[in-house]
Amino acid sequence: MSLELLLIIAFGGAIVTYLLGKISCRIREGFAVLISLSLVVMIACLYGENGTESIYFHFLGLPLIMRTNMLSWFFAMAVSALGALSVIFSLNYMKNRERTDFYYLMLLMVNASMLGIIFSGDLISFFIFWEMMSWSTFLLISYNRGPAVAAGLKYIIMSIIGSMAMLVGVLSLYATYETLNMATLAELIGSASSGYLLFLLIIFSIAFAIKNALMPLHTWLPAAYAEAPTPFNGVLSGMLTRMGMYGFLLIMYVIVGATRALNLGSGLFKFHYILAWLGAITIVIPTFIAILQDDAKKLLAWSAVGQGGYMIVGIAVGTNLGLSGGIFHTLNHAIYIVLLFMCVGAIQYRTGGERDLNSLGGFIKKMPFTFIGTLLGISGLVGIPLTNGFVSKWLIYKTLILEGYPFLAFAALIGTWGCILYCYKFIHHIFLGQLPGKYQNVQKAPFSMLLPMIILSFAILFFGILPGIPLKIIDTIGTSFGFKSMNVTIWGIASETGTLNTINIFAAVLIVSIIAWLMLKIGPKAVSVAQEDTYAAGAAIPKDKYHYTVDFYNPLYRMITPYLKDFIDAFYMKFAHWIQSLCNGTRRVYTGYVGNYVMYIVLFLALLIFIRLKWSL
C-alpha cells in the first residue's frame, strides 16, 4: 500500500465530500463515512511495515518523504479510528445545521492532515501538514461564530507562534546539515554540540507544547474546546492536541535520540527533568481548575489539559515504563475523552444545546446508554482498575516512584484525586439527582450517536483488562528508540519491583462482586420507588428544587479559588494589549497597517535568533 495513495484518498475524499454535498446530503454523509472507514482499513493493513518513500512532488527543491514505522502506525490508527467515529457521530448531530458541507470538508481535512503529519518522513512536509492542520482546525473551531471566533483566533495566534518557532528550528537544521530527512538527521545529529541540541529541543518544544497545551502555553485550549462543535471536540481533544505528543516523541527520541536527549543540562536542570516538572504542574493546576467549572465542555477541556500533563511526564522521565505509559496514555485519553465529549454531545443534542451542569440532572433514567458510556469514560479518566486509564497511569507512577521522583509522583497522584472530584461532579450533575421538569420527555440518543459510544466503551474495558495487546506495540516503539524491552504479558507487566496483573484483579473483582450481589439478594427483594419518594425530613420533596448542584464542592472552592486565578491567560492578555499599544505607536511611523500579533511574532523570532547568534549555539 502506497502512503502517497493513502494521503491522496484522504485529501481527495475530503474535497469530493464537499462537492457531493452540493448534490445531496445523504450521499455526502455516506461518502464521508465510507472514506473515513476505508482509511481505517487501509492503515490497519500497514501494520508492521517499515518503509520510506519519496513523493513525486517536490517543494522548493526539497524532496518530500513519507515513511511508516510502528510509531506512525500507532498514531495513524488512533487518528483514523477516532476520526471515523467522529464522522459517524456527526451524522445526527450536525443534521439541520447550516454549512454542513464545509463542516465535513474541514473535519476530513483535519484528519487527512494529521495523517500527513504522522507519515511525513522529513521536516518540511511535517511543517506543511502541521500548518494545514492548524488552519483547518481554526476554521472548525470558529464554525459556530460568536464567541467561537474569538476562541479560534486565540488558537490560531498561538499556533502561528508555535509554527514560527518550529520553522526557525527547521531552517536552522537545514542550514547546519542541509537535509531535512529525519532518518539522515538522526544519524548526523549525533555529532552536534549539546548546546545546539538544547536550542533545538527548546525551540521545537515551544511548538509542541503549545499544541499539547502544556502549561504555561495552554491558554488557547479551554476556550477552543468549549466553543468548537461537539463532534469535532473528540478529534480536537483526542488526537489533534496530541500531535504535540507525537512531535515531542519525534524530536526527543527519533531525531535527537534518547541517549542525547536525556543528558542535556546538568543536575536538576536537565531538559527532560524540567519538561517533566512542567508536565507535573500541568497535571495539578488544570485539574483543580476543572473542579471549579460549571460548563460540561469547559470541565472536560481543563481535564484534557491536565491529562496532557501525564503524557508529558511519562515521556519526559525517560524510562521504558514512562515512555510506554506516556504513549499508552495518549491512546487511552483519546478513547475516553472522545467518549465523554460524545456523551456531552448526545445530551446537547437532546436538550437543545444545554451544557450548563447546574441545570441538568437525572438523565440516567432517560438516557441509560449515554450514562453507561459516561460512567466508563470517567472510570477511565480517573483510572479505576480494569479500565484503560489505570494501566497507563500505573506505568507512569511506578517509574516515577522507582526512579526516585516522589514529588513528581505525588503531583501525578494528587491529580488523580482531584480528577475524581470533577469526574463525580460531571456524572452527578448530568445523570444523577432529580430530573428537571422540563426534561421529562427526553428521548434516548439516536443509534448513530450510540454506536461510536458503544465501540469506545468496549475499547476502554478491552484495553483495561487486556493491556498487553497495545503494550506490545508500544514496547516495539520503545525498543526502536533504544530502550530496554519491558516484560509485557497479555495481562500487564511482570517485574521484580512490582508486577501488574489485570487478570487477577479482574477475577477477584468479578468473584467478589458476585458475592456482594448474592449478599444483596439474601434479603427480601427491594421495592422500586419513584424518584420523588425520597427522604425530606418528613415532608414531600419540593418539585425541581431538590438537587444539590450549585457549588458542589463549595468548601473546597472557598479554599482554592484565590490561588487558581488564570493568571497566565491574564498575563498574555496584558502582553497582547501592550503589543497593541506599541503597534499603535509604530503605525504613525509606518503608513501601512501592521497586525498586532504579527509584530509580536516578529519580535519573538528576533529574540530567538538573537539568542541563537549570541551564544552561537
Binding site: G361, G538, K545, Y546, T549
Partner: protein, 365 residues
C-alpha cells in the same frame, strides 16, 4: 441557576423539638432560612379560655416541656396579680430554689442538645445524666419527673420534705464536682472554640432591635435579666451576679449558659441558707367557684431561655378571658434565627439553633 430547598426538620436528628427550617442553599451556604413552626400548635390559649382558673395549672406547664416550672410560675404570678393574692415569705424562697433547680436542669438539657449537635456524644451523655439527678430531686419534691404542678396561686403546694435541703446540696455538689471535667473536655476544648466561635453572631444592636432576651442578649454584653430588672420571688433577697460575654456568637452564648448554671447553683446555696421558716401557702377561695374581677395584667419572669411574659385578661368570670404568653423562643426562633442563619453553613444549622436555645413547643403553644 437551580435552587435547592433543603428541609431541616421536623424529622431530623439535628432538630430538637418538632420544628422545621426550610433552607435555601447554594453550595453549603444558606442564602435564606425560613422558620416553619406550627407542628406543635395545640391552641393552648384557646383551650385555657375554656377551663377554670385553677384547672389551667396542668395545662400551662405543658407549654414548655423542657422547663415547665417557669411556666407554672408565670401563670401563678399572673393570677396572683389579678386576684391580689399575697404569697408567704418562705414560699418565695422555695419558689426561687425550685426555679433555679429547673434552670440548672434546663441548661443541662441545652448542653446535651448542643454537645450532641457538635457530635460530642460523651459530654452530651454526661449532661443528660446530671439532668436526671436534678429530675430526681423534683420527683421527690413533687412526685413528677417532668411536669410538677408545684407552684400554686398563693404559694407552693407543699413544704420541703425532711432532709430535702441536704439532698439538694449533695446533688448540686456532685454535679459541681464534674464542672472541671466539663471544662476540660468541652468548654476549654479547642475544637469547641473552632466550631462555635464567630458562628451565628447576633450583635447587640440586632438583638435589641429584634427583641432578644436571655442569653442572646447577655452574650452581647447586656446585663439584662428580668430577675434583676423586676425582681420576683426571692431574687432580690440574696446577692448574685449576671454573667455576660461580649461577642454575641454561639461560643459566647454557650459560655453564658455555663456561667449561669454555676451562678444558679451558688444562688441556690445562698437561698437555702437564708430561707426563713413559716407557712408556704395562703389559702385561696373555693377553686371551683373562684372568680376574678374584670382586669388585665402583664407579668414577666426570667426562664432559662429569656424573658417569659404573660398577658392575662379577666372579664370577671371563673375562666380567663384571654391568655397570651410571650415566650422567649418565639422571638429567638422566628426572627433572630432566620437572621442568624443567613450565610451560615449547613453544618452549623443545629449549632446555631441550639445556641439560641429554641424550644419548639414554646413557639407554637
Amino acid at each position: 441557576m437551580r435552587e435547592l430547598e433543603l428541609y431541616f426538620g421536623p424529622q431530623h436528628l439535628g432538630m430538637v423539638g418538632n420544628f422545621s427550617i426550610t433552607l435555601k442553599v447554594e453550595g453549603d451556604r444558606i442564602l435564606k432560612a425560613t422558620a416553619n413552626p406550627g407542628y406543635l400548635h395545640r391552641g393552648f390559649e384557646k383551650l385555657m379560655e375554656l377551663r377554670s382558673w385553677i384547672k389551667n395549672f396542668p395545662m400551662v406547664c405543658r407549654i414548655n416541656v423542657v422547663e415547665p416550672d417557669s411556666m407554672e410560675m408565670i401563670y401563678a404570678m399572673g393570677v396572683e396579680k389579678l386576684a391580689g393574692i399575697e404569697v408567704p415569705e418562705r414560699a418565695h424562697y422555695i419558689r426561687s430554689i425550685y426555679l433555679e433547680l429547673a434552670r440548672v436542669g434546663s441548661h443541662l438539657f441545652g448542653l446535651w442538645a448542643y454537645a450532641n449537635m457538635l457530635g460530642f456524644d460523651t459530654v452530651a451523655q454526661w449532661a443528660m445524666y446530671h439532668r436526671d439527678l436534678v429530675l430526681d430531686l423534683f420527683e421527690e419534691l413533687t412526685g413528677g419527673r417532668v411536669y410538677h404542678i408545684y407552684i400554686w396561686p398563693g404559694g407552693v403546694r407543699r413544704d420541703f420534705p425532711e432532709g430535702f435541703k441536704d439532698k439538694i446540696v449533695n446533688t448540686l455538689h456532685s454535679i459541681g464536682g464534674c464542672v472541671p471535667d466539663y471544662d476540660n473536655t468541652f468548654f476549654n476544648n479547642r475544637l469547641f472554640y473552632e466550631r462555635a466561635k464567630g458562628i451565628g453572631t447576633v450583635t447587640r444592636e440586632e438583638a435589641l432591635a429584634m427583641g432578644g432576651t436571655g442569653q442572646v442578649l447577655r452574650a452581647t454584653g447586656m446585663q439584662y435579666d428580668v430577675r434583676r430588672v423586676e425582681p420576683y420571688a426571692a431574687y432580690d433577697k440574696v446577692p448574685w451576679e449576671v454573667p455576660t460575654r461580649e461577642d454575641g456568637d454561639a461560643y459566647s452564648r454557650i459560655w453564658v449558659v455555663r456561667d449561669e448554671m454555676i451562678e444558679s447553683v451558688h444562688m441556690i446555696f445562698k437561698l437555702l441558707d437564708a430561707m426563713p421558716e413559716g407557712e408556704v401557702y395562703n389559702r385561696i377561695p373555693n377553686p371551683f367557684k373562684w372568680t376574678i374581677p374584670n382586669k388585665e395584667a402583664y407579668v414577666r419572669c426570667e426562664s432559662s431561655r429569656g424573658e417569659l411574659g404573660l398577658y392575662l385578661v379577666s372579664n370577671g368570670g371563673d375562666k380567663p378571658y384571654r391568655v397570651h404568653f410571650r415566650t422567649p423562643s418565639y422571638t429567638h426562633g422566628l426572627t433572630i434565627l432566620e437572621k442568624a442563619l443567613k450565610n451560615a453553613s449547613i453544618a452549623d444549622v443545629g449549632n446555631i439553633m441550639i445556641s439560641l436555645y429554641v424550644v419548639a413547643p414554646e413557639i407554637d403553644r
